[in-house]
Point group: C2
Chain length 219, copies 2
């Protein structure tokens, strides 16, 4: 889990070039930016959060950033990883997504009570193109660790997207359903509650479940 004091929240002028100016401060100090996120603009001010690597001198960064004319405020915040933790992503039809979510949320509650931080994030969608795009983009979601395919029929481009994100290091559990997406997953689970529970167990440090030992199986 990231050090909660290594995220800087900056309020800056919303003008082209401001990021370049801010990034130059980090570069001049040799500080490695591990994550940066610009939030929605409020009035003429843009808000951005920047997480730095363990070697960076946060105090020196705050001092130098505060001296930049375009920068109005610098505060230290806990990282989103320390607050919301690792993410289980559930994509598919509303009926199944809801039930997988109930299982995952209930299991995440049990682990979060013991010091874990796991979120359960979902989107109900219809159609091969929309689902394949959503599956592919899981690789671009920060802190996402595992995907659950929660539908009644998925194949074609969705199966292709599943293979692609698995190559990028994500785990995938599929409900037992019609179509070829199931065959592309790490694990197939028939009961939606159980699928949600297993997804959380697979990424919780507080669990002893090893999905590598279950690869290719159907429950």
């Amino acid at each position: 889990m990231a050090d909660p004091a290594r995220t800087l929240l900056l309020e800056v002028d919303d003008v082209p070039g401001v990021l370049s100016r801010v990034a130059a401060v980090f570069a001049s100090q040799g500080a490695n930016i591990t994550s940066i996120q610009t939030l929605e603009t409020i009035g003429l001010r843009a808000v951005m959060t920047i997480e730095v690597g363990p070697a960076a001198d946060v105090g020196a960064l705050v001092a130098e950033l505060t001296a930049v004319p375009l920068v109005h405020r610098v505060t230290l915040e806990p990282s989103l990883l320390s607050i919301y933790g690792k993410r289980v992503i559930i994509i598919g039809g509303g009926a199944q997504v809801g039930q997988v979510a109930v299982g995952a949320i209930s299991e995440a509650d049990r682990h979060n009570i013991r010091g874990e931080r796991i979120s359960v994030d979902t989107i109900p969608l219809v159609g091969e193109q929309a689902l394949a795009a959503a599956v592919s983009a899981v690789a671009r979601l920060p802190r996402a660790r595992i995907l659950v395919l929660a539908g009644a029929i998925m194949g074609g481009e969705i199966a292709h997207a599943v293979r692609e994100i698995r190559r990028q290091g994500l785990l995938v559990i599929s409900l037992n359903m019609v179509g070829s997406a199931r065959e592309a997953a790490d694990l197939v689970v028939t009961d939606p509650l159980q699928a949600g529970v297993m997804a959380v167990m697979a990424i919780a440090d507080t669990a002893t479940f090893d999905i590598a030992r279950q690869r290719g199986r159907t429950y």
Copy 2:
């Protein structure tokens, strides 16, 4: 919804200063970066996505970025807003979070079928400090529009955090529960399924529900 072709995905060397070099390209073209996200590093390569404003010349940016020695690959991707849309965030106890999620996912499904894009994202947590930190940080979650407080007792610092994020433009629905957090919310709803449904209706362009007309009420 953001133009799906205005997000650039860059594969770059994972070295200090790379962001500064990349940001300088955008600055030199006067392109306003609306959102930037660095993803987890794969080997010696870092992957980042950068969304630009409507005035930027994406073709010219791709050409100039490709010429930077630290940049190995530039591709165009649909924006996360166009794929996952606006976010409902549900925070609280596992039992309630699960049921609010079922209501919200079911309602989001109905709107997403009609062209909306709404995600339902959750975290079950215990304790005033953890909950207050999670509520405050909703203001830092990209695309978050509304929060549902789903618990049996919330007050103190949580109520303070609710007022703070409402000042930053977020909507808040609370379940009918013990404690002062309820009084800080826009709307109080007793049934968890209904609370989830109303949260989605409040942010869906495809719905006719106006939460401003319900402010301060209890259902």
